[in-house]
């Protein structure tokens, strides 16, 4: 599968890593919901570094859509909430 870290790039990660990543993602989601900035920052950093560790950066000429997307690795809790609150219909895409 292909995982993108926003602002960083895409990584090819073995499907066998999926369960481990999902578990870390659950921790991250719980941190978002709990609103604990420190727990959130730790969980996000852990998830991002696990993607980097387990994955291989995609070549520049490999153009493929991502299966999973990690927020900006240094995003704050508020920023991440803001990102997640964006409409799925891409209302904010005009700016990009």
């Amino acid at each position: 599968m292909i995982v993108r870290i926003l602002g960083e790039g895409q990584f090819a990660v073995a499907d066998t890593e999926r369960a481990a990543l999902d578990a870390m993602d659950d921790t991250l989601m719980a941190a978002v919901d709990s609103g604990d900035e420190d727990v959130f920052a730790t969980a996000l950093a852990a998830l991002a570094s696990e993607v980097r560790r387990a994955g291989t950066p995609l070549a520049d000429d490999a153009f493929a859509p991502s299966d999973l997307v990690v927020p900006f690795a240094d995003a704050t809790l508020d920023e991440t909430k803001g990102l997640l609150a964006q409409p799925d219909d891409g209302g904010a895409a005009d700016q990009s």
Binding site: G7, D88, D89, S96
Partner: protein, 250 residues
Amino acid sequence: MGVMKRMSGILQAKTNKLLDKAEDPRESLDLSYQKQLESLQKVRRSVADVTTAKKRIELQATQLQQQADKLQGQAKAALTQGNEDLAREALARRAALAEQLGDLQTQHEQVSAQEQKLIDTAQKLQTQVDAFRTKKETMKATYTAAEAQTKIGEAVSGISESMSDAGMSMQRAQDKIDGMQARAGAMDELLASGALTDLSNPVDDIQAQLDKASTTSTVDAELAALKAEVGTGTPPPAELGAPEHGDAPS
């Protein structure tokens, strides 16, 4: 649903906006390439904006530093004149400026970090766009219509996603800079005319006091010299006007 899946849906939605529904998948390669070039231009402009913001902060810091240096010199001059209170006042104001300088320094670091991130984003995007340009011709030439449908669709989606990502990175930098721009604007106003003169005007007060002290001592010295010239006699009131009378005829 986890964060990653949700982020994926949001990025996908942004990306869909960039995709053209071209009849011929080969045509979508060219359309996508045009959009990529536009995206690159936007990212480059964004880098330029951030660089301008950085320069502005540097200019403000230079101005504040000059004022701080001036106050330092004035404190020294005041001490030389034996006016410790005035020296203390100058140093106190210098400390207030130093605090603002520290704040500018922090902003400068943040803007520099954003600038570097955007430069990296622009470089990465440039590399991908270059790679896409080469690849799209190969794809047009080698794929059958059926293959093209999926392969080209995937490639176009893939690079469009990178552009969405770059767009989000750009927006992020812009958001961070906006807050600083507002503060920088306020600082410019302060420096130009307004409230910072609460700090810089008194600087002139300090200068005025220093000048006054210096003038007084010069006048004292001149007076003493004049007294010596006129003679040791006790100068009557009329003698005070003597130099003026002396000047007028000659």
